[in-house]
């Protein structure tokens, strides 16, 4: 198997799984609850992937990611219910509004480092949450918004369980592809340089402030997209969906999977969404599980799952070799990780 073929095979396997096997199983079981779980898992995969870019790759510890998710969801819900727009409009507008707010957040906070940046994003996330909770005339406050219309593309109603799943799956996959292109390229390496030593990156000619703001905006954009997907598929949103514990949940996914690794973020998201579902018969311990998994993964495997477990390390290598310095003679195993 050649080195070029392997990533293609992995991608093909993922496509077959997400667009073939999972919908087939869901269709056979035909329970709307399972469709919801599948959508939720995909939405959190997207959220974790968007956080991976800013926290894992660019090294900016973010504690308010759920706020951008919320902005996307509220934008979509309000545009759908108040303005009667359909999914084709609400989706991009949700992403853009979240990205816009992300830039506003990033401009003043980018010169803060490490935990001060983390706490600033926590504060801003809380402010956004307070607005969702208390700006009742617009957001309907704690009662939330019922989103009954809008999952419609080019005149086709896609709101039934199976079509909605495909919408979520395809948008998530496309977004993952974009994030993969960003994080596994010279662009991702420039962001990694910021994470490693931003002063040094500055001396290499990288406009560190612009790059940080850019990565923050892109990450916000995809969180907003995830928000729109949630608003349209869940049919109901309320501020509690975007509160601080959700930010921590997303952070936990990225940390558990392994900071800096996109497959890691995906796996982390799947574990933390699906594990509590599997354990539901035992009791609703979702948050305890999140806390426990986060704690033990920091304690026992600081690099997350990927990079420690050998079977998954293989996955990392295979997904990681996407770019290997084209245009020169065949060098040793090198590529953007």
């Amino acid at each position: 198997m050649s080195d070029r073929l392997r990533p293609l095979l992995v991608v093909a396997a993922a496509l077959v799984l997400v667009l073939g096997v999972v919908p087939a199983v869901l269709g056979a079981l035909d329970r709307s609850y399972l469709y919801q779980v599948a959508n939720l898992a995909l939405i959190f995969v997207l959220l974790a992937a968007s956080m991976h870019l800013v926290t894992g790759v660019a090294g900016l510890l973010q504690l308010g990611h759920a706020a951008f998710y919320g902005i996307g969801a509220y934008t979509a819900a309000l545009l759908a219910t108040e303005a009667g727009l359909t999914f084709g409009w609400t989706l991009p507008l949700s992403g853009l509004s979240a990205a816009f707010v992300a830039v506003l957040v990033a401009l003043p906070t980018m010169r803060l480092v490490s935990i001060y940046f983390a706490v600033a994003t926590l504060g801003i996330g809380q402010m956004i949450y307070l607005v969702m909770l208390n700006w009742v005339p617009v957001t309907k406050g704690p009662n939330g918004i019922l989103v009954t219309s809008g999952l419609e593309l080019f005149g086709y109603d896609l709101s039934a369980s199976a079509p909605a799943y495909f919408v979520v799956a395809i948008i998530t996959l496309v977004s993952l592809w974009v994030i993969h292109r960003l994080s596994h390229s010279y662009y991702g390496n420039a962001l990694r340089a910021l994470r490693e030593d931003d002063q040094c990156a500055d001396a290499m000619g990288l406009d560190t402030v612009r790059l940080k703001i850019e990565s923050f905006a892109v990450s916000g954009f995809f969180a907003g997209i995830a928000g729109a997907l949630w608003a349209h598929t869940a049919g109901y949103i309320s501020p509690a969906d975007f509160a601080f514990p959700q930010s921590i949940l997303i952070l936990a996914m990225v940390v558990v999977g392994g900071l800096g690794s996109l497959p890691g973020a995906v796996i982390g998201a799947l574990i933390l969404i699906l594990l509590p579902e599997v354990l539901r018969p035992v009791g609703d311990f979702r948050n305890i599980i999140v806390g426990g998994v986060l704690f033990f993964s920091i304690l026992l495997m600081p690099k997350g799952i990927i990079g420690e477990v050998s079977a998954l390390d293989l996955v990392r290598r295979q997904l990681g070799g996407a770019w290997r310095g084209e245009g020169t003679k065949a060098g040793p195993e090198v590529g953007w990780r």
Partner: protein
């Protein structure tokens, strides 16, 4: 006018509570340079411990406070052993206060705080707990034209006593001396024979005592004891610490009072649900414009 004075009285007790919380943060930050995200849970534990004691034995408030403070100290020690000690693998200053250590413990304390909060929720339910009515600190007291409640006085007195006690401990006892030594120069403290590990445990114990006391006082003041009650005060206390310049106890106390007053005054003009905005606003403004705290202590690149 009376209404304003009343709000100021409320602001004072609010500020005192934030001060008690902020001291725990500040002590721990001073010694370890880490943010203890589980500090809010110590506050919750204090409130729940007090509630359990009250419902079981109904002892006088003074005894309740003593028990709560003891439970808080234990919780602090346990927290340090579980969420902080395992990450302190090296003893030199660079790694003791390194960025990696900071971020790892930030997340480990976050994880522990989630687990504690959820465990309490599973044990007691997520709703407001029933506090015996006669134990609420809401007996009206008339001071000339102003009416305050007994809680305002009790919180002020208890907090003032604890602040005084802390000052005594820090300035006059060996434990306090070693806390101050480790906080200003951990490596030097180690060289002159101070047991850094024990000092860190003491710091968590002392800081958590004050946090737990704040928890039960507020719980009885508002009659609101619930599993996630510690989150918001935790953030407020953190804001006070940042405003005060991170490792200055007087700075944190003054800023906690400023925060308390600002919030109670803000509720005169806007609905009280927006009051939390004040703290977040202070946080962002301080971080961006006064990275050394509003009194301008020494701090490197923030």
């Amino acid at each position: 006018m009376d209404y304003y004075l009343q709000q100021l009285a409320i602001g004072l007790s609010l500020g005192m509570v934030y001060a008690l919380m902020a001291i725990g943060f500040t002590l721990i930050f001073g010694v370890l340079n880490v943010v203890n995200f589980a500090h809010g849970e110590v506050y919750t534990i204090g409130a729940f411990a007090g509630l359990v004691v009250i419902t079981a034995f109904a002892p006088p408030l003074f005894v309740v406070l003593l028990i709560v403070v003891a439970v808080g100290a234990l919780a602090g020690v346990g927290l340090e052993r579980i969420a902080f000690k395992p990450f302190r693998r090296f003893s030199d200053e660079a790694s003791l206060k390194s960025r990696a250590m900071r971020e790892a413990t930030l997340m480990s304390s976050l994880a522990v705080s989630i687990i504690v909060r959820e465990a309490i929720e599973i044990g007691f339910g997520s709703q407001f707990q029933t506090v015996p009515l006669d134990r609420l600190l809401n007996k009206p007291i008339s001071l000339g034209p102003v009416t305050i409640v007994s809680g305002d006085v009790i919180i002020f007195v208890v907090a003032a006593l604890m602040l005084g006690g802390l000052q005594y401990v820090l300035k006059r006892t060996n434990v306090g001396l070693s806390i101050r030594a480790v906080s200003s120069n951990p490596l030097g403290a180690k060289y002159v024979g101070i047991n850094t590990d024990r000092t860190i445990i003491w710091t968590f114990a002392v800081g958590s005592m004050m946090g737990a006391a704040a928890g039960i006082l507020v719980g009885l003041y508002y009659g609101a004891i619930f599993p996630s009650m510690g989150f918001i005060p935790g953030i407020k206390a953190f804001v006070a610490m940042v405003m005060g310049g991170l490792s200055s106890i007087p700075g944190a106390v003054i800023c906690a009072l400023i925060l308390g007053f600002s919030e109670s005054i803000a509720t005169i003009f806007v609905p009280s649900v927006w009051a939390d905005m004040v703290a977040y606003g202070f946080l962002i403004v301080t971080l961006i414009f006064f990275p050394r705290g509003i009194f301008g202590g020494a701090r490197d690149r923030v």
